[in-house]
């Protein structure tokens, strides 16, 4: 009996131990952060822990007795079970889990086959690992990688673009027909193109890195360095002569790069050919003038001396004929002068030595020479000047005189006797306006556009007289525009025409400063 009792005690102790072991396992099971469940051979959930409850949404009570296919994809779970049967355990297999709310969660499943003492299959242990976060991280990682690759690609294409741009710029710089010198902020030369080497006959390695001061003693450089100065002064199309036969036009451009001081680009443009052509043109115009004017001046002088009685007495009748011949000859001279003016306009150097002048004086002197002619034709003539003194303008006096003469000449020619011509000056603050108003024949509507073109003469005036060259207004507009001014008109057939022109006012003071 004692033995029996001992056995009983032993059994009870063992049962107690078993009980505490079971509790231990249950606690451990409940504590495990990984979802774990036990599956019967018939694929029914036998037991599940709170972590499983959390991931699936099914309560522990609810899950027990549930078919595994309610929670996993039937095919996926079947293949996992088959694999477990074959291998005994699976360390990790990615499958999807379906929650109570129908959400699909990626998980990694580990399995182990449970066998009874006789080796019969009693069920499967499943442990799950939620891959959502990892997947998310993975996706993030993939995206990051993608965007990194994109950035790399962008950088690469940007680099290629920069390289292409650089190559383009370099080929422009290297093949530019102008010489280019680029000075840095310290005014040291850091770029010179091949054209510079050609102009100066020096390799660029010998000039790069030098300052203006250091360039000056090199052969041929002094005229350039004298013009630029150590600080590289602003220059625009300043002419210098190199090695006697090379005419260069120098311009400097300050390249803004944000700092106080900028890089400076010096452009040297070869104008040797233009100079030669210009000289040829001057010579041609000179010769043409000579050829065309020589007979006319001889006739003019002869007739004048005849009229002045220097070549003996003449009769009244002879005088009349000679006077008419003289006038015809003068007309021819004016035509030739117009033609020569046009040639010079087209050469682009018509303006010559502008000076600060009182415009009223120029107009007044033309008024003086025309007043008599107006009264002879019985045309009322008025000259209106504003009460306040007009500011001076920077003009080529001779050419502006010619402009006023041309307008007076037209007014005189195309205003019938008994008409009126009003000349007025106006101060428009930034410019002076000259207006010549006549009560003449007017300009036909359809020909208004052509009025300033070369050799143009309106229909209605061709009937009036055949004297004009058709060059007056062409020359006039060119002179006005060369001064930076504008010319326009209003006209009504049979009522008259007003010509307006403006000459910009440049402050004497500004001009004064400009020379420094």
């Amino acid at each position: 009996m004692a033995v029996e009792k001992k056995e009983d005690e032993k059994i009870s102790t063992l049962l107690e131990d078993l009980d505490s072991l079971e509790n231990y396992i249950r606690d451990l099971f409940a504590f495990l952060p990984l979802p774990v469940f036990l599956l019967s051979p018939a694929k029914i959930i036998l037991e599940a822990n709170p972590a499983f409850e959390q991931i699936t949404g099914y309560g522990v009570e609810e899950s027990i007795g549930k078919s595994i296919e309610d929670i996993f994809n039937a095919e996926e779970i079947e293949s996992l079970i088959q694999e477990t049967l074959e291998k005994g355990s699976i360390r990790a297999k990615a499958i999807f889990l379906k929650t109570k709310s129908g959400e699909k969660i990626p998980i990694s499943a580990a399995t182990m086959l449970r066998k009874g003492e006789e080796g019969d299959i009693v069920g499967y242990f499943f442990s799950l690992f939620n891959l959502t976060d990892i997947k998310k991280k993975e996706n993030e990682l993939i995206n990051t990688q993608k965007s990194l690759l994109n950035i790399l690609e962008d950088t690469e294409s940007a680099r290629k673009e920069v390289e292409t741009e650089r190559n383009k710029t370099l080929s422009i710089v290297n093949n530019f027909t102008d010489g280019l010198l680029l000075f840095d902020k310290e005014r040291k030369l850091f770029l010179a193109n091949p054209q510079i080497e050609k102009f100066f006959g020096i390799e660029k390695e010998k000039i790069i890195g030098r300052s203006i001061k250091e360039l000056a003693p090199l052969p041929g450089f002094s005229s350039l360095t004298d013009l630029l100065g150590e600080e590289i002064k602003e220059a625009f199309r300043k002419e210098i002569i190199f090695k006697e036969k090379l005419n260069l036009e120098v311009s400097t451009i300050s390249i803004a790069s944000g700092g106080e001081k900028n890089e400076a680009l010096v452009i040297l443009h070869d104008i040797t050919r233009e100079k030669i052509v210009e000289k040829m043109k001057t010579e041609f115009v000179s010769l043409a003038a000579h050829q065309l004017r020589t007979p006319l001046s001889a006739i003019k002088w002869t007739l004048r001396m005849l009229l002045d009685g220097d070549l003996g007495e003449i009769t009244r009748e002879q005088r009349e004929f000679i006077e008419k011949s003289y006038t015809s000859n003068e007309r021819m001279i004016n035509l030739i002068n117009d033609l020569l003016d046009v040639t010079r306009i087209e050469e682009g150097r018509y303006l010559y030595k502008p000076v600060m002048t009182d415009i009223e004086k120029i107009v007044q002197s033309v008024v003086k020479s025309y007043k008599e002619e107006f009264s002879r034709k019985d045309i009322k003539f008025k000259f209106k000047v504003p009460a306040n003194k007009l500011p001076k303008v920077l003009v080529d006096v001779e050419k502006v005189g010619l402009v006023v003469e041309n307008l007076f000449d037209n007014a005189l020619r195309y205003t019938p006797s008994g008409g009126e011509v009003i000349v007025s000056l106006k101060d428009n603050k930034k410019e002076i306006e000259i207006s010549v108003k006549d009560s003449g024949v007017g300009i036909p509507e359809e020909q208004k556009e052509k009025i300033f073109t070369k050799f143009f003469r309106a229909n209605n005036i061709l009937r009036l007289d055949t004297e004009g060259s058709g060059l007056g207004l062409f020359i006039t507009r060119n002179i006005v525009e060369a001064h930076g001014g504008k010319i326009w008109f209003e006209s009504e057939m049979g009522k008259g025409t007003v010509f307006h022109l403006t000459l910009p006012i440049k402050k004497e003071f500004e001009e004064f400063l400009k020379d420094f």
């Binding site: 001057t282 004017r293 020589t294 002088w301």
Partner: protein, 134 residues
């Protein structure tokens, strides 16, 4: 009408005016006008003859044409400027041309005035001479 070969026409005490001009008619007209005014004349029909003449008989003033055979007016100006005996002679250009570039060039070479023949009467030439040498 008297005609001149290269040479001198004397007129005691009168001011001497040299003319270098290849245009015969202009020359004749000037000659009449100037003699009437009481000047003594030195006449040449090109620059080379003219230079020889003025070196020999120093004139009080020179009327100089620009486009002439053998030696033109600009060459005459250049040579006169280099010659100490000739550089102070007042020069008036009488030309059929008259571009600003040319006028500037002549001025730099010492010319006092530039008359475009078609724009002046012979009487005005006399006025210009009087302005220079009273």
């Amino acid at each position: 009408m008297s005609t001149f070969l290269y040479g001198v026409k004397y007129n005691n005490m009168a001011q001497k005016i040299a003319i270098m001009e290849d245009e015969e008619l202009i020359l004749n007209l000037l000659e009449r006008k100037l003699i009437k005014e009481g000047y003594e004349l030195l006449v040449a029909r090109n620059g080379e003859e003219g230079l020889k003449l003025i070196k020999e008989k120093k004139p009080d003033l020179l009327l100089l044409d620009i486009i002439m055979p053998i030696k033109g007016g600009f060459e005459v100006l250049e040579e006169m400027q280099k010659d100490d005996n000739l550089k102070d002679i007042p020069i008036i250009i009488i030309s059929n041309s008259g571009q600003p570039v040319e006028i500037d060039k002549a001025q730099k070479l010492g010319a006092k005035d530039w008359l475009i023949k078609t724009d002046f009467d012979p009487q005005e030439v006399i006025d210009k001479i009087k302005k220079q040498i009273g």
